[in-house]
């Protein structure tokens, strides 16, 4: 409820309060810009709620009218193209690239630049698995049949079981297993909730598990574990078979670390030029975000409380975004 109460309360309670506050504060800079609400989309993970709330707070301080709309991460592009929605604060290079490219190709959606956060995605295991597979985190340890067996289940034995992300995430894990000749079978989780449900289950029983984890997220903070060290990603690795350890196949390396982008309706620039500049200027880093996500998801604070703290502590930073 903590994270959730916030959106309705934003609509109901804080509207009345903030409206008065804003009218009093900064009318001047943006008086000539549209007072239509700028619609920011909310998805269903905490980090995105925090990012969006901060952006919304900053825009309100600059005198803009802000509205939060719940929308599905990928289905939202339908709204961003028509201008039904205006800004989406987190579009991950690693999972949203294709939909984003398709949308920007129409010319109706614009990439507002990086958020400053880097998406890290890789194979991950809990620390207790190191006893059974001492060579980790070096990826070559996974080639050892005994190690693979330690990660196996009845269905995959003697091969190890690697729980990949939903097929919609892409990620080339099937190709990676083949290119690096790993004795593993890739099982795809259907959703990210299912992915972490399996991790929670295994962690409670101290059972073997090897799976796809991404950050910023609460999981690396809650569970003790490490990322597997694969050969560093380069674009050539994915495009050029001759690059890397396996001369005949691509994907013989780790996953790319991607930017997390801000995207939005292309009309924002003309309708709210000042807000457009502020959105483009917005940056935040992984550590800050990781701390805030942990506060909300594990320490039980509300999203609002966490973002209010951030706003208070970083006033000089966001003042420059809105040009004051």
């Amino acid at each position: 409820m903590k994270a959730i109460g916030f959106k309705t309360r934003t609509v109901a309670a804080s509207l009345a309060v903030s409206a008065i506050a804003i009218m009093a504060s900064s009318f001047s800079a943006t008086a000539q810009e549209s007072q239509d609400p700028i619609k920011l989309t909310l998805h269903d993970w905490t980090g995105q709620l925090i990012t969006t709330q901060i952006m919304g707070d900053v825009l309100q301080k600059a005198g803009y009218n802000v509205e939060y709309v719940q929308a599905d991460y990928l289905a939202q592009f339908a709204g961003l193209e028509t201008g039904d929605l205006d800004v989406a604060m987190e579009m991950w290079e690693t999972t949203g690239r294709e939909a984003m490219d398709a949308a920007t190709a129409t010319g109706k959606v614009e990439n507002f630049g990086p958020t400053g956060m880097k998406a890290k995605e890789e194979w991950w295991y809990p620390s207790y698995m190191k006893e059974k597979c001492p060579g980790l985190p070096n990826w070559e340890a996974l080639k050892d049949p005994a190690c693979a067996e330690a990660f196996s289940t009845a269905e995959t034995a003697p091969k190890g079981r690697y729980l990949g992300g939903p097929v919609t995430w892409g990620g080339f894990d099937d190709e990676r297993v083949e290119a690096l000749d790993l004795p593993f079978e890739v099982i795809h989780a259907g959703t990210d909730a299912a992915l972490f449900a399996e991790l929670e289950s295994a962690y409670q029983r101290k059972a073997p598990i090897l799976l796809w984890i991404y950050a910023p997220h609460w999981a690396p903070a809650k569970y003790e574990g490490e990322w597997v060290d694969f050969p560093e990603y380069t674009p050539e690795c994915y495009n050029d078979p001759s690059w890397g350890i396996n001369p005949d196949m691509a994907y013989d390396c780790g996953k790319p670390h991607g930017e997390i982008w801000k995207v939005g309706w292309a009309g924002v620039k003309d309708k709210w030029p000042g807000a457009y500049a502020a959105i483009k200027a917005f940056t935040i880093n992984n550590d800050e975000m990781g701390k805030m996500i942990t506060d909300v998801d594990l320490n039980g604070k509300t999203v609002e409380a966490v973002t209010d703290d951030w706003m208070a502590a970083n006033e000089d930073r966001w003042m420059t975004w809105i040009g004051k």
Binding site: I4, G190, A194, Q204
Partner: protein
């Protein structure tokens, strides 16, 4: 008529039956031979040749692009029309929402100023309680009040009001629309013929498949969610209306004719009231299915409880997910019981009342108004009256997470062993079997079955649809879908029909079962899907659990309905002839209830297919996943083609089952007109 023992009504000549059976037997033998030895002779019959695949997905994508961007009626474009419809739906929605949740506002977004607060939680609870008292007496009032108190006490109030607002708009539209379509189809044969396949499509194409075009056409937000809900929730109402009207006893219709009813009077004064019981089942379905769409609706901007469930499960907070999930159930129960009570009430003759004062005539209305005004004013001074105080909210906290953890730590191995046994001995062999079948052989065999069961028309339809699945390159995924649904429907029927039979005649048991199935149908499957993943890992087994849990509902409901409708005089006659209880059940009740039980099976299949997209969320590789991928890639063509394949499977099974049921009926001599 009703006194005639069922079995003595004319049987078809035995020779016809025998010919059919022989033809099916031969077809089966040829099919098995071909399956075993045909792979070398005709490899194309096993793997549909890639070069011949029809690029239907591309065509559909181009068509939707045209529809969205270029289609025009001259004066206005197609998108203008849909946006206009959206605005029409949006008006009542905003009205209800402002009453229940946001308050009356001026302006938009964060600049909006609230003129009037929403109706306070005390007043809303009081109003629904009064409605319960008015329509169903004290018992109902208590149930409804408890449901709404649950929302307040567990901190779900404001989300629940958002959800309630969209339900209050979607359900009346769905009930009225479904009823009108059903009456139309009853009256005009051609409309029924046109409507039946459309209904199947509406109910079985997964919502995700048409979500992207809907968002483009109707805009982003609650309106698009209402439209999607209507498409999904209306068909059962239409179906039940058609069935119910047809089952109105002929004497009632004759009576109507005798006293000289006009066509209009016949429909609204005679047929609809006599079919009321079945129509109520339909309305119940609309409410339940609308609430079932809450999760998907929240993904496209409806917000409310569905969003809370999704967000809670993303952080594996099972307790919070369960609380929000049960808030949906509480809403469902309250709405369902209230609507049934109201429907029952209006059917009673209204006693003549002498003209009295306004106050005396409208005690409930006045009491409600008083509550709204008093709590509204008092709420300005005492916030606890306006919104339930946060300090008094309850939460199960980490309790449920710890329950799941306890089961996980202590019983995982036993559950795993059970799961593996079932997987290895039942699920996987069945899957392999289906995947090994030659598509061409399946098409031919189904055609023969259709021919034998009804005639060349059905044969052509069944063969055509099955061929289209192969021709669009989806055979393998369609077979996995068939396997998953088939297994789930089997389990759901095995569990559901006996429960229905047992509950039909024991009122108290039926009441308990009713709460259980209402819960199953409205509790978002996500709530139990994630704990199931923890205990059974991702994969087919977990998916099967979800599908069975959901599709068992119609299996139970229709069995109960069927048995309860058996004419008591026939049962009496059976008793007089000295039948044992078992004979009464198997020889009379079950046989007479067969049409409803078959309709239930039909609905079980439809429900199972409609859960497909959800199964994709736990990693199955069927058509549901194809639809889900298409959604994430914003590819309407790919999604709709996969969605249509799901619908084709549903239609094929539906038509074959109906034809089979009709034959069985004919053989048993139960004409539909018996009652």
């Amino acid at each position: 008529m009703t006194d005639v023992p069922a079995a003595s009504i004319g049987k078809p000549p035995a020779s016809v039956m025998r010919h059919g059976a022989v033809a099916l037997g031969i077809a089966l033998a040829v099919f098995i031979l071909f399956w075993k030895f045909g792979e070398d002779l005709a490899p194309w019959a096993f793997d549909y040749p890639k070069a011949q695949i029809v690029p239907a997905a591309r065509w559909i994508t181009q068509f939707t692009k045209w529809l969205i961007n270029d289609a025009t009626f001259g004066l206005f474009t197609f998108t203008d029309l849909t946006r206009f419809i959206a605005a029409v739906i949006n008006f009542p929605y905003q009205l209800v929402l402002s009453l229940l949740e946001t308050g009356v506002m001026s302006g938009r977004g964060s600049n909006a100023v609230q003129y009037l607060p929403p109706v306070s939680w005390i007043a809303v609870t009081a109003i629904v309680t009064l409605m319960g008292l008015y329509a169903g007496g004290r018992r109902l009032a208590v149930i409804v009040a408890l449901c709404f108190l649950f929302l307040a006490v567990f901190g779900q109030w404001s989300s629940a009001m958002v959800t309630l607002a969209s339900i209050l708009v979607a359900v009346p539209l769905g009930v009225v629309g479904g009823l009108l379509l059903g009456i139309g189809a009853y009256r005009w044969r051609w409309l029924e013929r046109a409507l039946l396949p459309v209904l199947d499509l509406m109910q079985t194409i997964p919502v995700f498949a048409y979500l992207v075009p809907i968002l483009f056409l109707f805009g982003f937000g609650a309106t698009a969610a209402v439209v999607a809900t209507l498409i999904y929730a209306m068909p059962p109402m239409t179906r039940v209306t058609m069935l119910a009207l047809r089952q109105v006893p002929p004497d009632v219709r004759d009576l109507g004719n005798m006293i000289g009813c006009t066509r209009h009077q016949m429909t609204w004064r005679v047929l609809v009231p006599s079919a009321k019981d079945s129509l109520l089942v339909g309305m119940n379905q609309v409410i339940m299915l609308s609430l079932n769409m809450v999760i998907i609706a929240s993904m496209i901007g409806a917000g409310g409880l569905g969003f809370d469930v999704l967000a809670a499960l993303r952080r594996l907070d099972f307790g919070a997910g369960l609380e929000s999930g049960f808030a949906i159930v509480a809403l469902a129960i309250a709405l369902d019981r209230l609507s049934q009570a109201f429907a029952n009430r209006t059917a009673k003759p209204v006693p003549e009342t002498k003209p009295r004062g306004f106050v005396a005539r409208h005690p409930y209305l006045l009491a409600a108004l008083v509550f709204v005004v008093i709590t509204g004013v008092a709420g300005l001074f005492f916030p606890a009256i306006q919104a339930y105080p946060e300090g008094l909210q309850l939460s199960t906290g980490t309790f449920w997470s710890r329950v799941v953890e306890w089961i996980n730590v202590n019983f995982f191995d036993a559950l795993e062993a059970f799961k593996n046994a079932l997987l290895l001995n039942v699920l996987i062999p069945f899957k392999r079997f289906l995947l090994g079948l030659p598509w061409a052989g399946v098409v031919a065999f189904l055609a023969v079955a259709g021919w034998v069961l009804r005639g060349p028309g059905l044969a052509l339809l069944v063969a055509g649809l099955t061929f289209l699945i192969a021709a669009t390159g989806q055979w393998e995924k369609a077979m996995i879908t068939t396997y998953l649904c088939g297994i789930s429907v089997l389990f759901a029927s095995l569990i559901g029909v006996p429960i229905g039979i047992a509950a039909a005649e024991k009122d108290r048991l039926w009441r308990v079962v009713q709460v259980a199935i209402d819960t199953l149908q409205t509790l978002p499957s996500f709530v139990y899907l994630m704990p199931a993943v923890m205990l059974f890992r991702v994969g087919d087994f977990t998916a099967m659990i979800a599908v069975v849990a959901y599709s068992i509902v119609p299996a139970i409901r229709y069995s109960v309905l069927g048995i309860q409708r058996v004419d008591p005089r026939l049962v009496e006659a059976g008793k007089a002839m000295g039948c044992t209880e078992w004979q009464l059940l198997t020889r009379i009740k079950l046989k007479l209830a067969m049409p409803e039980i078959m309709l239930g099976l039909n609905q079980t299949i439809m429900f199972a297919l409609s859960m497909l997209v959800i199964t994709a969320l736990v990693g199955t590789r069927d058509l549901g996943q194809e639809v889900y991928i298409a959604l994430t890639k914003a590819d309407p063509g790919r999604g709709l083609v996969a969605g249509l394949a799901v619908a084709f499977i549903a239609i094929v099974s539906d038509r074959l089952i109906s034809a089979g049921a009709a034959r069985t009926r004919a053989r048993l001599g139960i004409a539909e007109e018996v009652r």
